[in-house]
């Protein structure tokens, strides 16, 4: 299949880009790495009226280091994240998740901003954002704003981003040394979108889990924060009993989608397995 026709705009400044989005609203669609949008267009499942190619805005591909935050530019590729030493040092959860994102030739063009804006429920980055309490930076002619990841993902391929807004970056809190994390997922084949995945981040001070965040992918219409399991674990001492209770809570709170290939019970079970493995790993 061949893509349907559209009008092409390649802004050379952010201002131009925002003006274009402002002018065309819903009719416009941003083209970042194209690794999700192009397949949809090739199948004629996406038919943008105006395609706004942001490839001419290199400033969106930079990483900005603030005092206690790192802002990864929206156009940063999966591959850049996978191979960055500073990211491995500062936000290792992202480095651990990166190899699970697709294949080398897709990681070379696909971007974190595209993944966040698309909000595929089985994608890695949105769940990582939840686990790390990241904020999504948005810009429009109306001004800029930051939306916590918890409030950004609203449903299947649906986010809080307005039609005139551009995702410009993802803002991650810099982590201190006490912070532990783990990422794991289950997929049939290497690089496939996961059946289920889990990103976990917590403080392990003394004998207790503190500020624990458990985010899952593939088990709902959006990336989900496992609030039930988190409240069991928060302030709890790691133990087999804690693990079992957390798993029960997780199992009760998940509502995986109907899918003839992977029935809800199956995804739920995989999510529970991932939580067990993650907690076992943290407990060494």
């Amino acid at each position: 299949m061949k893509a349907p026709d559209f009008g092409y705009v390649r802004p050379s400044t952010l201002a131009e880009c925002l003006a274009t989005l402002n002018e065309y609203g819903d009719e416009a669609q941003v083209l970042a790495g194209g690794q999700s949008l192009m397949p949809l267009m090739n199948f004629r499942l996406a038919k943008p009226g105006i395609l706004v190619d942001i490839g001419g805005l290199p400033e969106l591909a930079t990483t900005r280091w603030e005092t206690d935050h790192v802002v990864i530019g929206a156009l940063t590729t999966h591959d850049t994240i996978a191979t960055s030493d500073t990211i491995r040092e500062q936000i290792p959860l992202l480095s651990d998740a990166a190899p699970h994102v697709a294949h080398v030739a897709i990681r070379s063009r696909g971007t974190i901003g595209g993944s966040i804006a698309l909000a595929d429920p089985a994608a890695e980055w949105p769940a990582c954002c939840l686990a790390l309490s990241a904020e999504i930076e948005l810009a429009s002619l109306r001004g800029g704003r930051r939306v916590p990841a918890d409030e950004f993902f609203l449903g299947l391929y649906s986010t809080d981003r307005q039609a005139d807004e551009l995702v410009t970056g993802i803002r991650f809190p810099m982590l201190d040394d006490r912070r532990a994390h783990t990422f794991d997922e289950v997929s049939r084949r290497r690089g496939d979108f996961a059946i289920a995945g889990l990103a976990l981040s917590c403080d392990l001070v003394g004998p207790k889990f503190k500020d624990i965040r458990v985010a899952l992918l593939g088990v709902g219409d959006r990336p989900v924060l496992a609030r039930g399991a988190m409240s069991v674990l928060e302030d709890a001492e790691p133990s087999d009993a804690t693990t079992e209770t957390a798993i029960e809570a997780l199992s009760a709170e998940l509502r995986p989608p109907d899918d003839p290939m992977y029935p809800p019970d199956y995804r739920r079970q995989v999510a529970c397995v991932l939580l067990r493995r993650a907690l076992n790993k943290l407990m060494g």
């Binding site: 299949m1 061949k2 893509a3 349907p4 026709d5 397949p39 199948f43 004629r44 289950v186 049939r188 084949r189 290497r190 690089g191 496939d192 979108f193 059946i195 003839p260 290939m261 992977y262 029935p263 199956y266 079970q269 995989v270 397995v273 067990r276």
Partner: protein, 788 residues
């Protein structure tokens, strides 16, 4: 006395043609674009069953870049309808098929409107402008529903949905089961999958009305079959139709049929008098390529307490989709299953019933290893189950029941002639590579650490090199006879024109070796030319593992004819008896001393330019043909065994193959390098069938797995390394003694994986009989075993 063949037969020769492909110089259909080429895109049915009330295509016809819009009525006088009959099965139903649906569509993806545009993109744009008013009809998606009384009918002209039924019996199997000490009984489910060649189907048809000449480039396995079909269906003189199969990017059986869309491309070329190209996109491929499998097999096997099989009864419930595939019809997969289940064993009595329905689904047909994986899986899973119940060693149970050397030749319970098979030898070879006792130790150690590893064995019979009696008596115009034409040029170099085709299996190289060896000239002095219905002598192309056994034998015969002419000519020139001469490395030599008398090129030059040198009655033809067709047998049977070792993750249901071994007997091997990777490729497809590949439909009959993101094919990381070993039992029905090798990998892998998974799951009590073994199915089976 067995003939000793020159070393070149059986040598590991890399393929010549590969060099071109490695340099990016391949030439596939899509790469060919003559001037004035136009492109077709299709409007296809979104429904599995619906009536077309009205087609409104005016906007499409006037859209930018559109040359013409075709519907059924435009083709009425251009393309004849067809019926997929098979005279061996006169009771099989074969409703009429036409190129574009006119009133009722019976499967999703059925082509309805063809839009011809200056580019594919513009043709697709115009397709979106075609409006069809539909009346949805009740759709039938499974065999039980289709065959239940009062079910809505797929074809209104038929009184029910029965497509075909037949049975085979040998002895009284019911009595044998009644008298058995143990009967194991299971229902096996094999889900639906498809071939997924990496290059999709494609065709470029060009028509010159001044000469009534149709020239077709097509990604296809059987150029002569297509030539005949296009001539008949388009009412053209056959000798004016040329079908060329250039490089073909994988075929696996899905490219040896007639497809309506491809025929429309030819018809459009005839109507427009210019080249028309149609390349299926991946979405269309999943909907409209031939599908396969989708069987439910109920099976019962009886044993004595000592472990001897007393009888086997199977019933296969299967379907054709909406129509039989043309021209081969769709009965073969079911027929192979009833022929082959339990085939490696002394079965006592046997009975097999096959019942096939019509469904509102895409057409089911012949894809690689037709029926084989199912037959082998059912038989071998039952043996394992029997061993469990009898508390005996599954390997010994196999050995006890295998057909023995002394049993051959025989006609099997399923009615196939087995000349000589080598079950014990293959098993012994496998056991020399896999130490089962130490595996069992490792298995229990691993289990203690929570790793569930299992081993599975799968003995299989492979039916290859189908003889002319099958389609000949069927009334189809499908050649199972091969002809080879050898043309020696003045240089002494040879062109071999053959009717077999090569989609990467490497048969061209195998034939090159046979011809060079047979003539006694260097390998590089032979080029094989295949895949062109004008250049190649009439032949069958490639399907059913026929290249080496039939094409190879034909080439050998031709080489002997030419060689004998060369010797006669040399004898005359040297004034020696032909028996005193040999041809070796392109030279005529003295067989006892090896001394060179003259070169082959000298004979060739003399023959071509100074023919008067030779007396009139000397056979001096430097262009010879030979043909070969087997007689009185439907198949050449080969056999083998596969062993799989897998890990099953009990928490997630994921299966990881760890090790895979194939011991295979295909008679004489022309080129082990080629056979090895051919087998491995088949194994990987078999692992795909066992673990990944499945076409899912919604409850409304809509295909849910219409892309490579949803339909999972095996990729490199999950595949194990695959060891291949050979036993060589030559067939005496030919000089070369070669049998086919293309089905073996796929035939044996599915059951090996299933048995390995069930072995790993022994501690859980779960037994699976449904493939693919998707993780949810595995967890469900474990859960069921836990709470019976």
């Amino acid at each position: 006395m067995t003939r000793v063949f020159p070393d070149l037969v059986g040598a590991e020769v890399p393929r010549d043609r590969a060099k071109r492909l490695l340099a990016g110089r391949g030439c596939f259909v899509e790469d060919i674009s003559p001037p004035r080429t136009v492109h077709v895109a299709f409007v296809r049915s979104p429904y599995p069953h619906a009536r077309i009330r009205e087609i409104v295509s005016g906007a499409a016809a006037t859209a930018v870049g559109v040359i013409q819009v075709l519907t059924a009525s435009d083709l009425e006088y251009v393309v004849a309808p067809w019926r997929a009959t098979h005279d061996r099965f006169p009771e099989m139903r074969a409703p009429e098929q036409i190129a574009l649906a006119s009133d009722v569509v019976r499967y999703q993806g059925e082509p309805i409107v063809a839009v011809i545009g200056t580019t594919r993109t513009l043709a697709e744009d115009a397709c979106e402008l075609v409006e069809i008013e539909w009346e949805e009809l009740p759709q039938i998606g499974d065999v039980a529903a289709a065959l239940s009384p009062g079910a809505p009918r797929v074809h209104e002209t038929l009184d029910d949905n029965l497509f075909f039924e037949t049975s085979i019996a040998s002895g009284d199997a019911e009595v044998a089961l009644a008298e058995a000490d143990l009967v194991v009984e299971r229902t096996f489910r094999f889900h639906r999958h498809t071939g997924v060649s990496l290059e999709t189907r494609g065709i470029l048809a060009d028509y010159d009305p001044t000469e009534q000449r149709l020239t077709v480039h097509q990604s296809h396995q059987t150029p002569h079959q297509q030539q005949d079909l296009y001539a008949r269906l388009l009412d053209l003189p056959e000798h004016k139709v040329r079908v060329i199969c250039p490089d073909v990017g994988g075929a696996f059986g899905l490219k040896h049929h007639l497809y309506a869309d491809e025929l429309v491309a030819c018809a459009a070329a005839v109507l427009l008098g210019r080249p028309v190209k149609y390349i299926a996109d991946r979405f269309e491929s999943f909907q409209s390529d031939i599908h396969c499998r989708d069987h439910e097999v109920h099976a019962r096997m009886g044993f004595t307490s000592a472990g001897e099989i007393t009888g086997l009864v199977i019933e296969d419930r299967f379907h054709a989709g909406a129509y039989g595939q043309y021209p081969r019809s769709s009965v073969a997969e079911g027929n192979q299953i009833i022929r082959l289940t339990g085939a490696p064993y002394r079965l006592g009595a046997y009975r097999a019933d096959l019942k096939m329905a019509f469904l509102n689904r895409g057409i089911l047909g012949h894809i690689r290893a037709v029926g084989h994986p199912i037959a082998a899986t059912v038989g071998e899973a039952l043996i394992d189950l029997g061993a469990r119940e009898l508390r005996s060693d599954p390997i010994e149970l196999r050995r006890l029941n295998y057909l023995k050397d002394a049993d051959f030749p025989l006609t099997s319970a399923g009615g196939v002639v087995f000349e000589k098979l080598s079950f014990d030898a293959c098993l012994n070879a496998a056991l020399s590579k896999v130490d089962v006792a130490s595996f069992r130790n490792e298995q229990s150690e691993l289990k203690a650490r929570g790793v569930f590893r299992g081993i599975g064995f799968n003995t299989f019979v492979e039916l290859t090199a189908i003889g002319p009696e099958y389609y000949g008596e069927g009334g189809q115009h499908i050649s199972a006879q091969e002809t080879c034409l050898l043309r020696m040029e003045a240089s002494g170099q040879v062109r071999a024109y053959v009717g077999t085709t090569d989609q990467g299996q490497g048969i061209d190289t195998g034939i090159q070796q046979v011809v060079a060896a047979g003539l006694g000239i260097p390998l590089d002095d032979v080029e094989v030319i295949s895949g062109d219905s004008v250049l190649s002598p009439m032949g069958g192309g490639s399907w059913g593992s026929r290249g080496a056994a039939l094409g190879g034998e034909t080439a050998w015969n031709a080489s002997q004819k030419l060689r004998s002419n060369l010797l006669a000519m040399a004898g005359f020139l040297l004034q020696k008896e032909p028996g005193e001469l040999d041809v070796h490395e392109g030279r005529v030599t003295n067989p006892s001393t090896g001394a060179t008398h003259m070169s082959v090129s000298e004979i060739a030059r003399t023959g071509h330019f100074r023919p008067y040198t030779f007396p009139d009655d000397l056979p001096t033809d430097l262009t010879v043909t030979a043909r070969y067709a087997s007689r009185g047998r439907l198949f050449l049977a080969g056999n083998g065994i596969q062993v799989s070792i897998v890990d099953v993750d009990l928490a997630t249901g994921l299966v990881q193959p760890i090790r895979h071994l194939v011991v295979h007997d295909c008679g004489r091997i022309l080129n082990p390098l080629l056979v090895r990777e051919q087998i491995r490729g088949g194994v990987v497809q078999g692992i795909g069938s066992a673990l990944y590949e499945e076409l899912y439909y919604s409850e409304h009959g809509g295909l849910l797995t219409g892309s490579l993101a949803d339909y999972l094919v095996p990729m490199a990381p999950e595949m194990p390394d695959i060891e291949v070993a050979h036993v060589e039992t030559l067939t005496k029905t030919s000089e070369l003694g070669a049998k086919g090798a293309g089905e073996a990998g796929l035939a044996g892998a599915v059951g090996a994986i299933l048995n390995a998974v069930n072995d790993a799951l022994v501690p859980t009590g779960a037994i699976l009989t449904e493939v693919p073994l998707s993780p949810p199915r595995i967890l469900k089976a474990i859960e069921k075993a836990r709470r019976p």
